[in-house]
């Protein structure tokens, strides 16, 4: 893969933990990969698999969803729903031979600015290794 390839990654962040964690990362001047586009939702439970699917089919090189750690959901249990939906979506991807490692769910708490920076950077690096999302070449979808 050419080095100038900068993976386009979308991050769906829950408002209470992960988005705050992202802010903290900024406040503590952590570095995150460029071309990481944050979309805020109130709860990871709001993240409809269709969002991830749509982003993937529209050519996102990676999609990260982030929410509060299990048990810490601001809305009690929304993240458990999110987790099931991701297990389901990832299994669909696997079965269809789509690269399920291009999508994923991470728990990032409001105090985990460092973790936020780490997981986004790692994910972006891995994605960079993989190269662009092959779906971008498919016209007939």
């Amino acid at each position: 893969m050419t080095d100038d390839f900068e993976p386009r990654i979308i991050g769906f962040l829950c408002n209470w933990c992960s988005y705050t964690g992202a802010d903290l990362a900024g406040v503590s001047r952590e570095k995150i990969p460029t071309s990481f586009h944050v979309i805020r939702v109130m709860c990871s439970g709001r993240i409809d698999p269709l969002f991830v699917l749509r982003a993937y089919l529209k050519g996102a090189d990676g999609v990260m969803a982030m929410g509060c750690h299990p048990g810490d959901c601001h809305y009690l249990k929304g993240n458990y729903n999110a987790r099931r939906r991701f297990v389901m979506l990832e299994q669909i991807f696997k079965t269809l031979g789509l690269d399920s490692t291009r999508i994923g769910l991470w728990w990032v708490s409001a105090s985990e600015g460092k973790k936020y920076a780490r997981v986004t950077t790692e994910f972006s690096a891995e994605t960079k290794k993989k190269g662009p999302n092959p779906i971008q070449k498919e016209i007939f979808i």
Partner: protein, 561 residues
């Protein structure tokens, strides 16, 4: 009316321009569809900043507003207020975070500039789809439901009840008082005795603002701070059920004595004169401490920490009531020998040390031990115990009193499920924060007092009851109105198939099924707007205000442009 979006980039002093080429951003977005104005300002959150923004909204006749600045968690509310003052519905506004999540995190200025522009574009195409939303007001119901008629419940009731605030106590048993009511007397050194409790109970019985429902249990409860609908059913034969509405709930369900220990180890039940603390209390209350054979015991073993290992926590109160027993035994006319088998002494209160020293003076034997066994050997009760140095020792006594761990009462899980509040690993109710918010449950409007959240002594329980009452008194002021969440879920009845998946994923019980229409409906007072139901509805019949599919799809699209 045509859409006129105003985009305003805040410099936030040097914070943003140092890292982002604002002019480049502006020239990138100025030509976009519907963008009527794209400008920068030194510090929008400052007073002249807010004034500037308000003037701009009027001057440019803006229909929608985008502010690119710090995190919405910082100043979203500030700018929404500006909208209100400028006569623009505050929900026709979108905040874009280019400080924390662009300027401060992306080292390369060109990149940071590019990403800032992208996020703003997303904000612009999203805001164009915003519709006006209006806040609703909800008058709170000041009344309070107290679950559990023990000392905590009683204390809370007394602190809360007034002409303007009715209180209902639900007690499973047939009388108030709880564990405290079963005590022969309180700790002597604290100078009071149980008559105080009796007085409190009488007060309650006189107070017409407090209704006591004994022999009753809560069978369903749904709602939120200011508005809980509670279903109560009497557990007796002629089961009657009724519904009440309250504004807050105090969980004061207390605790029980653990009886799950191995009788083979502690002998209780199958060896005469091996009794539990509760049974010993009754003996004290009855005024005669006698063996089965009618004789007073010449020697008594007080066994601490029964179940501490198994349960994994110290029950806090045992040491002190064991001391109480010791004092009592030593003070009687024919004092018995008293042996306290403990593994660690817990003497937290300032007066406890003195209480302990007193017992020592009175000749109580304290044995630090481990692996205690109580057995019957040739007609005598033998307490076998390790001395810590690995040696086994035995001691013969006439009577042994067990101090079992305090455990959550049965039905706690059921109640926790109904209230949507968690239990911790010990099975007690989990506080919002064990140290910093100890009497609040994770759900607004639900409070926890006393042993419901773990073993406590009486004064701690009373303190907690008063604390919880304080919180309620300050939030549930009669006549006060609450603003329920605006960005809630809404259901399109034409698309709803009534499959009720949404009900199963709503942890607030905010969605109910309307059988006559065959569709689900959202209770606006209860919905918190998390959107779990939206993500779960296959029909797309539910949409969450301010986070609709179209709005989020626009963001996705812009992110990938």
């Amino acid at each position: 009316m045509s859409v006129r979006i105003g985009v305003y980039v805040c410099e936030c002093g040097p914070n943003i321009p140092d890292k982002i080429d604002i002019d480049k951003v502006l020239e990138d977005i100025a030509p976009l569809n519907n963008v009527a104005a794209a400008k920068r300002f030194r510090l929008l959150c400052s007073n002249d900043g807010k004034k500037y923004l308000a003037d701009e909204i009027r001057k440019e006749k803006l229909t929608h507003l985008v502010v690119a600045a710090c995190s919405p968690r910082e100043h979203e509310k500030t700018f929404m207020q500006v909208c209100v003052e400028a006569g623009l519905n505050p929900y026709l506004f979108q905040m874009v975070n280019i400080r924390e999540q662009c300027a401060w995190m992306i080292p390369d200025k060109a990149e940071a500039t590019r990403m800032a522009a992208k996020h703003i574009r997303a904000g612009i195409s999203r805001v164009a789809l915003h519709g006006p939303l209006s806040k609703k007001e909800l008058t709170v119901n000041p009344d309070v439901l107290i679950i559990g008629g023990g000392i905590s419940g009683i204390e809370a009731a007394l602190s809360l009840a007034s002409k303007t605030r009715k209180v209902a106590i639900i007690e499973r048993s047939d009388s108030l008082g709880g564990r405290t009511g079963k005590l022969s007397r309180l700790l002597l050194h604290q100078g009071t005795d149980v008559s105080v409790l009796r007085e409190k109970i009488e007060k309650i019985e006189k107070d017409e603002n407090i209704s006591v429902l004994t022999g009753c249990e809560v069978t369903d409860i749904r709602g939120f701070l200011g508005n809980f609908e509670v279903r109560i059913e009497s557990s007796g034969e002629e089961a009657v059920s009724r519904s009440i509405v309250v504004g807050a709930v105090v969980v004061a369900t207390g605790c029980e004595l653990w009886d799950g220990y191995d009788p083979a180890v502690y002998g209780a039940g199958n060896i005469d004169d091996v009794v539990t603390a509760a049974e010993f209390e009754d003996m004290i209350a009855a005024g005669k401490i006698l063996l089965k054979n009618g004789k007073p015991p010449r020697s008594v073993a007080l066994i601490h920490c029964v179940g501490r290992k198994e349960k994994g926590y110290c029950s806090k109160v045992c040491c002190l009531y064991a001391l109480k027993f010791a004092h009592h035994l030593r003070d009687s006319r024919a004092p018995a020998e008293v042996y306290e088998f403990y593994s660690d002494l817990c003497l937290p209160e300032k007066t406890d040390q003195e209480y302990f020293d007193g017992a020592v003076k009175k000749g109580v034997h304290f044995l630090r031990t481990e692996n205690v066994r109580v057995e019957k050997r040739n007609g005598h009760i033998v307490v076998e115990h390790g001395d810590g140095a690995g040696k086994k020792k035995t001691l013969e006594v006439d009577m042994a009193v067990l101090a079992p761990a305090l455990v959550p009462p049965p039905g706690s899980e059921k109640l926790a499920r109904m209230l949507n509040i968690p239990l911790d690993e010990t099975g007690f109710f989990k506080e919002a924060h064990a140290m910093l918010d100890p009497v609040a449950a994770p759900i607004e409007g639900v409070y926890i007092a006393g042993c419901a959240s773990g073993p406590k002594n009486i004064n701690e329980s009373v303190v907690q009851a008063q604390a919880a009452s304080g919180k309620i008194l300050s939030t549930l002021v009669p006549g006060k109105t609450l603003e329920p969440e605006v960005k809630i879920s809404v259901i399109n009845e034409d698309l709803c198939t009534g499959c009720q998946t949404c009900l199963s994923v709503c942890f607030y019980g905010a969605i109910s099924f309307q059988a006559h229409k065959g569709v689900s409906a959202v209770n606006e007072a209860i919905c918190r707007g998390c959107g779990s139901c939206v993500g779960s509805c296959p029909s797309g019949a539910i949409s969450s205000r301010h986070f609709t599919y179209r709005q989020l799809y626009e963001e996705i699209f812009e992110a990938l442009r």
